[in-house]
């Protein structure tokens, strides 16, 4: 590398660092960050944490049905989203749909949906479907659709062209081509994304109740409202255990799939 090039690289690096420092400085100025405030009031937070212990163990029994409902929400939400994602993923792949412009609207919808946080989706569905887990299912379905469709179309675009060309050569029609050439190649990654999304959804489902969309989140917001922090802690612990178990199972299945 010659000297001039090196100097340009150095200048670029220092400009980037300067930009970052300015960004963080202005951000902390505007959000009112003050370490003094944090450390002088840390005892308040400690008091709240102290109220969370010991957790109310008897509450576990009480919220088990809500926990099952949470898992049910995640299962159904992921399933609905995953099914709708399949045609979208196919239409968004440039190697399936040969005309490039067809993919654009499908990708646009997918990207649009992925920008909306789940909790917000749930808050929009609650006035329509009412308080309860149906709203949660639809919110999770919309969200899972975005995630799975995107991951799936990326893996469809990466498939091996060989079998497809062979099928075209022996005169397969488009449907045969998709069902026997494309789908078998992407089933394993699709299942893996499905499970990955299911893991995310279990986590998300636990807080969706905060806006009224069913599951254990309803109890979370209720106990928080009544300042029953020991019960809040038992809900958190319960969630932790369930999420760990589901993540563990799902990870093992995913490792086998790929």
């Amino acid at each position: 590398m010659n000297l001039a090039k090196r100097r340009v690289a150095k200048l670029k690096l220092s400009l980037i660092i300067l930009f970052f420092i300015l960004l963080i400085w202005s951000a902390s100025k505007q959000t009112g960050v003050s370490l003094v405030e944090l450390f002088s009031n840390l005892s308040n937070m400690g008091a709240l944490l102290a109220q969370m212990f010991p957790p109310d163990w008897s509450y576990f029994n009480y919220v088990t049905s809500a926990m099952l409902e949470t898992i049910r929400m995640a299962v159904l939400g992921t399933t609905f989203g995953g099914i709708v994602a399949i045609p979208f993923a196919l239409f968004a792949s440039r190697n399936i749909v040969k005309k490039g412009w067809i993919a654009i609207p499908f990708r646009f919808v997918m990207n649009l949906i992925r920008t909306i946080p789940e909790l917000l989706l749930a808050a929009l569905f609650v006035p329509i479907f009412g308080i309860g887990f149906v709203s949660g299912i639809f919110a999770l379905a919309v969200f899972s659709f975005g995630v799975i469709a995107k991951l799936a179309y990326e893996s469809i675009e990466a498939i091996d062209k060989g079998p497809l060309e062979a099928m075209t050569a022996v005169g397969a029609n488009k449907l045969q081509w998709i069902f026997l050439g494309v789908i078998p190649q992407v089933v394993a990654p699709y299942m893996s994304y499905f499970l990955y999304c299911f893991e995310i959804n279990v986590r998300a489902a636990t807080i969706l109740g905060y806006v009224g969309a069913g599951g254990i989140g309803l109890y979370l917001s209720r106990t928080l409202g009544f300042l029953q922090y020991d019960r809040v802690m038992s809900i958190i612990l319960y969630t932790f255990v369930v999420v760990l178990i589901i993540d563990g199972l799902s990870n093992r299945i995913r490792e086998k799939l790929i």
Binding site: L23, I24, S26, A27, S28, Q30, T31, G32, V33, S34, E37, L38, N41, L42, N44, M45, A47, L48, L49, E69, R72, V75, L76, T79, N111, L112, T115, I116, P117, L119, L120, A123, L124, P127, I128, F129, G130, G132, F133, V134, I137, R203, T206, I207, Y210, V211, L220, L224, V232, I236, T239, F240, V243, L244, D247
Partner: protein, 266 residues
């Protein structure tokens, strides 16, 4: 000959059938619960219509108002919360990443404990974290920054820990062999190797943090969430529409920029 190659061994078939049965049972259980409780409120269609008509006529007046209580200020605050939260967690997560990396600890149980600790942080809901910090520093954006900063440690620590585990140590060994001290090996062999991934993961987390920051305000931790929840509770769908649009535009722009940078990094 044909039959033996076509049929899978008995054990494998048995296993596949069991898996299919388990999946079937899960779905039967899930759907029975769904249909038992599924009922559309008579007002559902009306509500959907109201939401749709409100969202299709966004309240443009809210975008910028004199006095600063408007969409652009709230979005800027959300962005700032995400920037600072990600920055804090990117620094704080480094020791946790080394703790959770298997090849950095002599004993397996140490790194396993680190991994469990990180997943505990990940599972602890951000909203509750925000409530805790609101108790400490009061309502406002600072609580959101702290909540995001601590919550993101869980994910960044895990990702960084994994990239430390995947690291190639031959460069570090070569440097050590020709007499570099510990600091020099760290600086010239390890840091250049993990830095691109480190930044890429941080940017990825930043994209997620922007979305989180957008909802943290629902519990009072600053950003766009507070006006959003007010508009939702008041059924002001035109305002919900404009806020939603604002979030979509901001998140899309950030995703685009950050995605472009990440592509160049790795």
């Amino acid at each position: 000959m044909m039959n033996t190659t076509m049929k899978k061994p008995l054990m494998k078939r048995l296993r596949n059938w069991t898996i299919a049965l388990i999946v079937l049972i899960i779905y039967v259980w899930a759907f029975t619960g769904f249909f038992k409780n599924f009922e559309l409120k008579p007002t559902a269609l009306q509500a959907a219509k109201a939401i749709f008509s409100g969202m299709s006529h966004p309240d443009w007046g809210y975008v910028s108002q004199p006095g600063g209580e408007d969409l652009l200020h709230a979005l800027l605050e959300t962005f700032n919360i995400a920037v600072l939260g990600t920055f804090i967690s990117a620094i704080l997560c480094v020791p946790f990443a080394f703790w959770a990396a298997r090849n950095m600890n002599r004993y397996r149980f140490v790194s396993s404990a680190g991994k469990i600790f990180l997943s505990a942080i990940r599972v602890f809901p951000e909203l509750i974290m925000a409530l805790l910090f609101i108790k400490a520093v009061g309502l406002g954006a600072f609580a959101g920054v702290l909540a995001l900063g601590f919550h993101s440690i869980g994910m960044l620590g895990k990702l960084f820990g994994e990239s430390i585990e995947d690291m190639d140590f031959s460069a570090a060994e070569a440097l050590r062999a020709c007499g570099a001290n510990k600091f020099q090996t760290l600086w010239f062999a390890i840091v250049p190797q993990v830095m691109p991934q480190f930044f890429s993961y941080t940017l990825y987390r930043f994209e997620i943090s922007v979305r989180s920051a957008a909802i943290l305000g629902m519990v009072g931790a600053g950003g766009i969430g507070a006006p959003l929840i007010f508009a939702l509770n008041a059924h002001r769908w035109d305002r919900v529409g404009v806020i939603l649009l604002g979030i979509i535009v901001m998140v899309s722009i950030i995703d685009l920029i950050s995605g472009a940078i990440r592509k160049r990094l790795v």
